[in-house]
């Protein structure tokens, strides 16, 4: 495939932050990620201190811990919503679209995930896996869904007066079991980060090596190449409304950029 290496003028495009490096997460995405990480840590810790008897014995101060847990929980969506709400959230909005949309490649990757390393390698290289794999997409969707359910059940536990008492018991049931499952999923996420240091560094400093991207996310590299081609075209003159002769179909790729 021609797109496995950025050629000529494309190499100079803004997406590359240096020789052989690509920006994976911009500053806004990184700040939101680490803010969420801290908020989640506080929620897990205060939640455990409300729920797990040995920790209750150690921490006590139930009403204070409750207040912290409640208000941090209510605040949790704020950083993400703030980041999404302005011009600064362009990269984040784009990545959320990437998380949302599943291609046939993602479905194949997911099936291959249960069939060993060589099958996974085959899928990601030959089927040109995008910026995020299906595992990362599931993790992202689960995290959003679980956070919303925790927010809903948690609010119901606090403001239960208008509702039947059985809803409160039901909310306790959902909140407790999902919290347990959520902690396991977060632990898995942290484990994956620690065992993939290059990826973890990209969440700390933003960039990842071009070699990594070619190897793990060739479809993402394809996207960047197409964008750069568009950007180059825009720089070199007004975009023709009618496709020009030699590269006549380029205008149609604008829908991707």
């Amino acid at each position: 495939m021609a797109t496995t290496a950025l050629g000529g003028d494309a190499r100079s495009a803004a997406r590359e932050t240096g020789a052989g490096w690509i920006l994976r997460f911009d500053a806004v995405e990184r700040v939101v990620h680490w803010t969420n990480a801290v908020l989640f840590a506080v929620l897990v810790f205060t939640g455990a201190a409300l729920y797990f008897s040995p920790l209750i014995a150690l921490i006590g101060r139930r009403s204070l811990v409750e207040e912290i847990h409640l208000y941090i929980g209510l605040f949790l969506p704020v950083p993400l919503l703030l980041a999404l709400s302005g011009r600064w959230g362009r990269a984040l909005r784009r990545d959320l679209r990437r998380f949302n949309r599943w291609s046939e490649t993602d479905r194949r990757w997911l099936r291959s995930a249960f069939r060993g390393q060589s099958e996974r390698d085959y899928v990601r290289r030959r089927l040109s896996l995008g910026k995020f794999n299906a595992g990362q997409k599931i993790n992202a969707a689960f995290t959003v869904g679980a956070a919303l359910v925790m927010l809903g059940t948690g609010s119901l536990l606090r403001w239960y007066r208008p509702f039947p008492l059985s809803w409160r018991a039901g909310s306790t049931f959902v909140h407790n079991w999902l919290a347990l499952f959520f902690v396991i999923v977060i632990a898995g996420h942290v484990l994956m980060a620690l065992t993939h240091p290059a990826v973890l560094r990209s969440m700390l400093f933003g960039r990842i090596s071009r070699r990594w991207a070619d190897d793990h996310a060739p479809g993402w590299v394809d996207e960047l190449v197409l964008e750069e081609a568009d950007a180059t075209e825009e720089r070199s003159g007004p975009k023709p409304t009618v496709p020009a002769a030699p590269r006549g179909t380029d205008a149609e790729t604008g829908g991707l950029a």
């Binding site: 021609a2 101060r61 139930r62 997409k137 359910v149 039901g170 306790t172 049931f173 179909t249």
Partner: protein, 258 residues
């Protein structure tokens, strides 16, 4: 697969092989086939969450019955609805009784009492086997309780006829509770010195705690140090923090009252 008109890169070999795996679909075509699975996962979880709110109580009761042999201690207390107590405290840790601990009965009584645990044990005992239901959703079935009926204790102290409510204080220095005389009678509340087949332990509120059958657990004040007979009901600690004054689990007093 036919050659795609969007095939951009010069010298690309797209569209030459019959096997679609050797011919990754061009980006635009692939994008068109993408499905919003992420959104479906999120919406599905919201749906399951709503079902859990509506029917989770029944499911949890079933799980609790299955897990009850674990007893809910140690690591088993991590499992939601394990059938064990979750040992709450509003101060830092579980308070130890002060030296020379006494349970005092004061207020509108003819004979204020100043009781050691042994003094309390010398009074006529009441034995109960009853569930402990927390307002936050967990429940322990068939707990054995031993103690002195609150109304008996009031009688023993010579309660004034105008005393219509009890005020309870804990030696944790913060927790308070209150019951009306009617509620004490209807519930059969006891001042307990034994539960779960032994003395009330420190984390369960020992040496002496209240147990109010039929009411949520926050009524059953732990680390009890003073019972004050008063004219008017005064809301307790959690009731001042938003918990309902009406703590009957069923919403109303039992119909076959004692």
């Amino acid at each position: 697969m036919s050659r795609d008109p969007l095939d951009w890169a010069p010298g690309s070999e797209h569209g030459t092989g019959p096997d679609p795996e050797d011919d990754p679909a061009p980006l635009a075509a692939r994008a068109a086939r993408e499905k919003p699975v992420g959104r479906r996962v999120v919406l599905g979880m919201l749906g399951v969450g709503a079902l859990g709110i509506a029917f989770g109580e029944n499911v949890q009761n079933g799980i609790s019955r299955l897990l009850s042999p674990l007893g809910g201690s140690g690591l088993a207390s991590l499992v939601p609805g394990n059938g064990g107590f979750v040992l709450y405290t509003i101060t830092a840790g579980y308070p130890a009784p002060p030296p020379h601990y006494r349970l005092t009965v004061s207020g509108m009584v003819q004979r204020p009492l100043n009781l050691t645990v042994d003094d309390l044990k010398a009074l006529p005992a009441t034995y109960l086997t009853h569930d402990f239901q927390c307002v936050t959703g967990w429940k322990v079935d068939n707990v054995h309780w031993t103690g002195v009926r609150l109304t008996d204790l009031a009688e023993h102290a010579g309660a004034h006829p105008k005393a219509t409510a009890f005020e309870f204080a804990s030696f944790d220095g913060l927790y308070t509770e209150s019951l009306t005389m009617d509620q004490a009678r209807q519930s059969g509340a006891i001042v307990a010195y034994s539960m779960l087949g032994g003395p009330v332990s420190q984390e369960h509120g020992g040496p002496i705690r209240l147990y109010v059958p039929g009411m949520f657990g926050y009524k059953s004040i732990k680390w009890l140090s003073n019972i004050n007979l008063v004219e008017d009901f005064v809301p307790g600690y959690w009731e001042q923090n938003g918990y309902p004054i009406n703590a009957w689990i069923s919403g109303h007093p039992p119909t076959k009252s004692a």
